[in-house]
Symmetry: C2
Subunit: 205 residues, 2 copies
DNA sequence: CAAATAAAATGAACGGTGTTCAGTAAAGCA
DNA sequence: TGCTTTACTGAACACCGTTCATTTTATTTG
């Protein structure tokens, strides 16, 4: 009965075809501005066909959401070979910001979009990879505390605070709230602010 | 010729009537979910009428945007009587977060929404009040440096970094990325993270 | 192989959106 | 009173996400 297997394979291929087109358009012109009809045009199928493979538009987002967190986790793994936990922490922060600046539309739906959660909040799996990523931060902070880099033993609060700082910097850029800086100087300014933050947690400020 | 004056007054009153309805609905159900027809229903006029007073939907946002920054600046002014610049700074941060938590929809359009800027980016006035608010932060940071609270003389970078930290905390909450915490514990956790940040810039971490 | 069945794809239709504009009603003026 | 200006209306346009009766294509059965 190789036929049902082929069917399944074809179904998966079709989903991937749709997903690839959707990702391309979402990244190009954003989620809101991408219509089901656009995606249908891109793959040269009718709009109705997409609904045979994805429940609705938010399920497309859900899948891309998962994929994007996997990609961030991959970035974080590049850091694991760094011995010194503090060095590892600040490099992780740099990679986080880099990810946000280089993949604005993915960052958007991971951390900035309100719709995906509200529409598919019943699906708890949506945050599984998010928790994996945050756990990586927590573990490094814990190591930093154990190694004596932070005097206060508060993994949770410190992790949160560090995340908020880099997330804030990325968000300010992605939402274009940097009108006080000249164009082209904006990302450097934010990276400079991150350096200030690093100095801060080094205790040098 | 009191008649033209009355006309102008009536025009202003009508704009306020529309704005009041729009603000109410935006706060209640968000900008995206509020339609021009909703606003028209609320004030018992036809949809077309609204376009006689506001160019388009984004201009409604523009006006509310201005109003919201005024409100934030008012909050910041409550802080000016605090003598110690460092105490003033951390209280300002607390007021900022409080504003975000208490006025999620206003914060949304001030700092999180991408549409208002893209649609009316030609209007430079849109950030005037934003710059006033940021200048207030800059000035306090400058005072903190002068008073010896910060060793590094970098008003711009330090201000940016501090804004990013509190903005990050507010944004994490508003976009509901706090699934790692139990409901009802979320804001306290973020406030706790802010306290960690305060300890940090006090040099105690 | 042909007919019957099952699966896949279609595209018109529904109710929604922001926005425009010809037409109507009211107000101001001579 | 008649004329002009202003205010307002609501139908119409082009889009949106989504559904579903219908048609096309593929597979199974006789």
């Amino acid at each position: 009965m190789g036929i049902t297997e082929r069917k399944e394979r074809e179904k998966a291929e079709m989903k991937r075809l749709i997903m690839d087109a959707a990702r391309k358009l979402f990244i190009e012109q954003g989620f809101e501005k991408t219509s089901i009809r656009n995606i249908a045009d891109e793959i040269e199928y009718s709009p109705g066909t997409i609904y045979l493979y994805y429940k609705d538009k938010s399920e497309l987002l859900f899948d891309l959401h998962q994929e994007s967190f996997q990609k961030l986790i991959e970035q974080f793994q590049r850091v694991l070979n760094i011995r010194d936990p503090f060095e590892r922490l600040i490099t992780m922060g740099r990679y986080y910001m880099q990810y946000g600046f280089e993949n604005p539309e993915l960052y958007e739906l991971m951390f900035l979009m309100s719709s995906p959660i509200e529409t598919v909040e019943c699906r708890e799996e949506i945050w599984e990879d998010g928790h994996v990523a945050f756990d990586m931060l927590r573990n490094i902070v814990r190591e930093c505390i154990q190694a004596g880099y932070f005097k206060i033993d508060d993994v949770e609060g410190t992790s949160m605070m560090i995340w908020a700082a880099v997330h804030g910097l990325v968000t300010i850029h992605l939402r274009k709230r940097t009108t006080m800086f000249r164009e082209g100087e904006r990302i450097p300014r934010l990276e400079h602010a991150y350096e200030r933050f690093v100095e801060l947690i080094k205790g040098k400020i």
